[in-house]
């Protein structure tokens, strides 16, 4: 299956758009007409209609090349977006192996990986990379292993160490985050880095999630969906750059909702890593314009209802306050009140 890669931007002129086929594969995060936090983890196995974002375990789509270009720009401006504490080298190699193997297996026309003992040969055609290296020897790569491979994989990546009955975020490549800082959070444990999330702690969501993840097993990755909203298709909505993108939230008008307001979904997958016994936390980000979303009638009805009835703590924490009323008003035109089917897939 050959992907046609787009040439678009996630800043300045914001030329990002989804092709019609790409809209249908969006991992829509609402299975019912309302939303509250839940542990909501399920086995990460292929599911959904053909071509859906769940088909390959590491998903590569038409935005791949442009996203990697945006990542390179973010890192040039702020190298602290990619950090690894010194003890995480085994986890870095585990991550490199996982991403190379998964991308080569899922998209053989775009990626190839050949191994001869520890002499590996990696080819990335879309980015024009042809690299021979020694697995386990970081001096044979132009960057440390995690940085090397995550500059070639969509989404953010955190390598989480497991010790002392807890999980510790000890390495990461974070350039497409919905508003949290790797430089600040690196070294924190599970409860600490989730500290800012309202309501979920009282619901016991994090206690259950932690217990579950501590027993995550090799060969059985899991996934869940998380969401927020972004004004303009901007990938880098980091706290570091908040003064740059914060004002976007003031620019929404009834006329431009369709183009400017985006549903931002994170397909999160968690993998137990072999050598380090750490967990790779993949946060794969997808953007969908409101005008693209409403081309799927079930999603148009459902998202209107979810957004309209969202609890105020979540509205505040997800930063939706300023533009929510205008967006809800705009979406109401597409909600005829008819019932929606359960589950996330389009009808």
């Amino acid at each position: 299956m050959n992907i046609v890669f787009k040439n678009e931007t996630f800043r300045d002129k914001f030329t990002f758009r989804n092709s019609p086929e790409n809209i249908k594969r969006f991992p829509f995060p609402f299975h019912e007409d309302k939303y509250m936090y839940a542990v909501n983890m399920e086995p990460h196995v292929p599911a959904g209609p053909k071509g859906f974002a769940y088909e390959h375990m590491i998903d590569v789509d038409e935005h791949y090349v442009s996203e990697m270009q945006d990542r390179a720009l973010v890192l040039k401006e702020d190298p602290l977006r990619c950090q690894a504490l010194p003890h995480m080298m085994a986890g870095q190699w585990d991550t490199l192996e996982l991403l190379m193997e998964q991308q080569a297996a899922g998209y053989p026309e775009h990626f190839s990986l050949t191994k001869n003992g520890d002499q590996w040969h990696w080819i990335n055609r879309p980015l024009g990379i042809d690299q021979k290296f020694t697995f386990g020897d970081a001096s044979t790569l132009p960057y440390e292993p995690m940085e090397y491979i995550t500059r070639q994989a969509q989404g953010d990546f955190c390598i989480v160490d497991q010790r002392d009955g807890n999980l510790w975020m000890d390495a990461g490549m974070v350039t497409t985050q919905a508003d949290w800082s790797l430089d600040f959070d690196i070294g924190m444990n599970f409860m600490e880095w989730h500290g800012p999330v309202p309501l979920a702690h009282q619901l016991g969501v994090f206690d259950r999630a932690l217990k579950f993840l501590l027993n995550l097993q090799q060969g059985k990755p899991v996934r869940r969906l998380n969401w927020t909203m972004t004004i303009n298709p901007r990938l880098d909505t980091s706290p570091e750059n908040y003064p740059k993108w914060g004002t976007d939230r003031m620019t929404v008008t009834p006329e431009n909702v369709g183009d400017k307001v985006h549903l931002r979904c994170e397909l999160q997958s968690l993998w137990r890593l072999p050598r380090s016994n750490a967990i790779l936390f993949v946060i794969r980000c997808y953007l969908l314009k409101m005008e693209e979303l409403v081309t799927v009638p079930k999603w148009a009805r459902r998202f209107h209802r979810v957004l309209r009835d969202l609890p105020p703590e979540l509205v505040d924490y997800k930063g939706l306050t300023r533009f929510r009323p205008t967006t809800v008003e705009w979406l109401s035109k597409f909600d005829d009140g008819k019932p929606t089917s359960p589950g996330i897939f389009p009808e």
Binding site: D164, D183, F184, Y242, T247, E313
Partner: protein, 191 residues
């Protein structure tokens, strides 16, 4: 972004003396010596015979194996680093003073390979905070208000309860990023 009252601030559970420890190492700032004195009253002075006490400010009125006073926190941190380099397993570390002091001493301890769960801490004195500006990464000590003006880049920052042990600082985030110029006046929050 602007939510306050979040759950990731550190909790200081108190300076309870570990009776199994072979050596006790204390780093205390000003009113922090009172925390030590409370322990002596509570469990008796026996542990002082195997204790090293480093202080910023007046020394506690106790008889310990070794006591040393530093003129500033920076000087104490250097000395703490040296003590820890020579320390053996079986040494228990106790920290008491302002949050900024506890954070900085803990940072040194973590760099010297002490697991943070084994460090005993007790907050005494001012609640003023060390805050890192998430935008320019500059750290400002002794922040008493929220918002405050970053002493490095000049942005007006909301002080969150989100805390990093590694940086020994709370997080400061621009309070008027969405509508520049609308920052409310500073309110004393951490006297």
């Amino acid at each position: 972004m602007l939510v306050q009252g979040i759950k990731s601030r550190p909790v200081y559970t108190g300076l309870a003396i570990d009776q199994h420890a072979r050596r006790h190492l204390f780093a205390l700032e000003c009113e922090g010596v009172e925390a030590l004195q409370t322990q002596v009253k509570s469990v008796g002075p026996a542990f002082l015979k195997t204790s090293d006490i480093l202080c910023v400010g007046p020394l506690p009125k106790v008889e310990a194996e070794y006591m040393w006073s530093a003129p500033t926190i920076a000087v104490l941190l250097n000395r703490l680093r040296v003590n820890l380099t020579n320390a053996k397993m079986g040494t228990r570390l106790y920290l008491s003073g302002t949050e900024g002091f506890i954070g900085q001493t803990m940072k040194v301890a973590l760099e010297q390979n002490i697991d943070f769960n084994s460090i005993r801490t007790e907050h005494r004195g001012s609640t003023a905070r060390r805050v890192q500006c998430v935008h320019c990464k500059g750290i400002t000590d002794d922040v008493k208000t929220s918002p405050y003006t970053c002493t490095h880049c000049g942005l007006s920052l909301l002080v969150r309860d989100h805390y990093s042990r590694r940086l020994a600082a709370f997080q400061g985030v621009c309070i008027d990023a969405e509508e520049p110029g609308t920052a409310p006046p500073p309110v004393e929050m951490f006297p």
